[in-house]
């Protein structure tokens, strides 16, 4: 029964790359894996999942009440098929973090959160204390492992596969106590922060919602995603889904540029895996310069227009 079940994440139209990253983690454990896609009209998503290199079977559970990602509904389906698997992996995104502990508790096991590296099926590494310490986590040999995979630590697998898709009907009815109302998405069409190759972020120094246009314009110019510090989100300069950090998104772009962000540990946690970190801050002593690969001590309100000109 050494087999991994991966919980697919999607938005109803496309598969989130977090799924393929979880699959990479399963291969690091050294196991064959299946993928379960839960949703309504899941055909297209299941096809995308089937293309992940090495996928065994894609199990498609199609029911109206699974259309929205309510943990109460999704957890019951996963628990119903848990018997055939030694490992159940989901992403460390808000979807996975909401869902996986519910599954673990229903199965009566502890959960390993945020796997960043794998030694074998029961030995993992993960960051704690906002990434200030890395620890070994050893799950009991032979126990069922339920875990979230720290998506910023894993690259997606290739998409040349052609796994079989199996349809399964839902094993439980809709939960009567939890109802989905709606999703208000903040972002426009910019690349998703968790998969973007470049990210441009603004901090409290942006000083207004209008000024954040500078960040968006520069981001659009180079095809980057747009991010922010908590202070910028709290101040209402930009939507919550742009927050990068311990309690926002943990990202790993090739290029991260921070404008007017001081570099609090909770922010740095979110960008440690970035390829090149650039910081622009008018305070030459700002802590962000300790982690930046390239630093520029200057006023962002002059630097951004100059960059736009030089890159335009």
């Amino acid at each position: 029964m050494n087999r991994t079940l991966i919980i697919a994440e999607h938005d109803g139209t496309s598969l989130n790359p977090s799924t393929s990253k979880c699959a990479r983690c399963a291969t690091a454990i050294g196991q064959d894996f299946d993928i379960v896609v839960m949703g309504s009209s899941t055909n297209e998503i299941a096809t995308q999942a089937a293309a992940i290199d090495g996928a065994g079977t894609v199990i498609s559970v199609d029911a109206e009440h699974l259309a929205n990602p309510l943990a109460a509904n999704h957890a019951s389906e996963v628990v119903a098929m848990a018997d055939g698997y030694s490992h159940i992996l989901g992403p460390s995104t808000t979807y996975g973090r909401d869902l996986m502990p519910r599954i673990a508790a229903l199965l009566g096991v502890n959960q390993v959160s945020d796997i960043s590296a794998v030694e074998d099926g029961y030995h993992f590494k993960r960051p704690i204390y906002a990434g200030n310490a890395i620890v070994d986590v050893h799950a009991p040999e032979g126990s069922k492992v339920v875990a979230t995979v720290r998506v910023a630590s894993w690259k997606a697998l290739g998409d040349g596969g052609n796994a079989a898709v199996e349809s399964k009907s839902a094993s439980s009815a809709a939960s009567s106590h939890t109802r989905y109302v709606n999703l208000e998405s903040g972002g426009g069409e910019r690349p998703d922060l968790q998969t973007a190759t470049s990210v441009i972020s603004g901090g409290r120094a942006m000083a207004s919602k209008e000024n954040f246009d500078l960040i968006y314009e520069l981001a659009d110019l180079i095809g980057a995603g747009a991010g922010a510090s908590r202070a910028a989100v709290d101040a209402g300069y930009c939507p919550n889904d742009m927050q990068v950090g311990q309690t926002g998104k943990i990202i790993s772009p090739d290029l991260y540029i921070a404008f007017g962000i001081s570099g609090a540990i909770q922010h740095i946690t979110g960008i440690k895996d970035a390829g090149t970190i650039v910081a622009v801050n008018k305070d030459a002593d700002a802590p962000i310069f300790e982690v930046a690969d390239i630093g520029l001590a200057a006023d962002l309100f002059t630097v951004i227009p100059e960059m736009k000109q030089l890159l335009g």
Binding site: D11, A72, A75, T93, T94, Y95, R97, D98, L99, P101, R102, A104, A105, N110, Q111, S113, P127, I128, Y129, A130, N132, A133, I134, V135, D136, V137, H138, S176, H177, T178, Y180, V181, N182, L183, E184, S185, G186, G187, S198, I222, D234, N240, D241, Q246, T247, L255, I265, Q266, V280, F289, A292, D293, I294, G295, L296, A298, V303, E306, M307, L310
Partner: protein
């Protein structure tokens, strides 16, 4: 209605975390300890609900040794009505914590349980979801908005894609995010008053819970350091370097 709020004693968020040289843990000697920031927000929300007349009693609960009474007293000073310490010397893992909360729930019968969405030490983000599962009640995680009306709660959740709204029947478990509210400051007279509020101590065993800590956590190491970077003089140099690295 009673509201139960979970409180964890953690290393203060402003403290620079140092891993012990023998890899056995992080240094907590003489380090400032505080209520986990998310739990403080959970408590603030509970107090506001009570102040709005929608709840009668706010109970703060912490699992730990006598040292966590300090955080429970802070919770009482913020305005909680009473406190429960579940006495244990073990650093319990979320499944056991959830089982413990369930026992307290069976005794206290709260209409709402408010927890932080994660503790800033273990960063697990599990307890609320596990508790909801074991209790067979709804979970609403990462809340940045909470509205009670009769037997339901409407919760705005901070998710990767934006703001998701769900509706749950009470009783429910809600885990809170940072933007839900700004906790009040504790005033000196409140600290004095808090000393006279009830703080009950029960042992884990008396609640009938046995620890199921079966994940072994070891080999603490500091994160790999990034290579030291350098400063550039102006925007032109910055752009030139980004271009030469093939990044733009």
């Amino acid at each position: 209605m009673k509201i139960l709020v979970g409180i964890k004693r953690v290393v203060d968020y402003n403290v620079r975390i140092r891993v012990k040289s023998d890899g056995s843990g992080v240094d907590t000697d003489g380090v400032k300890m505080s209520i986990n920031p998310f739990d403080e927000i959970a408590l603030e929300e509970a107090l506001r609900i009570r102040e709005a007349g929608l709840a009668e009693e706010v109970i703060v609960v912490s699992l730990g040794g006598n040292e966590c009474q300090q955080q429970l007293r802070t919770g009482l000073a913020m305005g909680a009505d009473r406190a429960i310490q579940v006495d244990t010397s073990e650093n319990l893992q979320p499944l056991t914590i959830a089982r413990t909360f369930l026992k307290v729930i069976e005794k206290e019968q709260p209409g709402l349980v408010l927890l932080g969405k994660q503790a800033i030490d273990g960063d697990n983000s599990q307890t609320a979801q596990m508790l909801a599962a074991l209790w067979d009640r709804p979970q609403a995680t990462f809340a940045s908005g909470l509205n009670l009306s009769g037997d339901t709660a409407t919760v705005v959740r901070e998710v990767d894609a934006g703001l998701e709204t769900i509706e749950v029947d009470l009783p429910a478990v809600v885990s809170v995010d940072l933007r839900l509210n700004e906790p009040r400051f504790v005033k000196l007279p409140d600290i004095m008053k808090a000393k006279r509020k009830p703080l009950d101590v029960i042992s884990l065993g008396d609640l009938g819970v046995t620890s199921e800590n079966d994940l072994e956590i070891s080999h603490y190491t500091p994160p790999p350091a990034r290579d030291k970077g350098h400063m550039v003089e102006d925007t032109a140099q910055l752009v030139a370097e980004l271009k030469s690295r093939g990044l733009v």
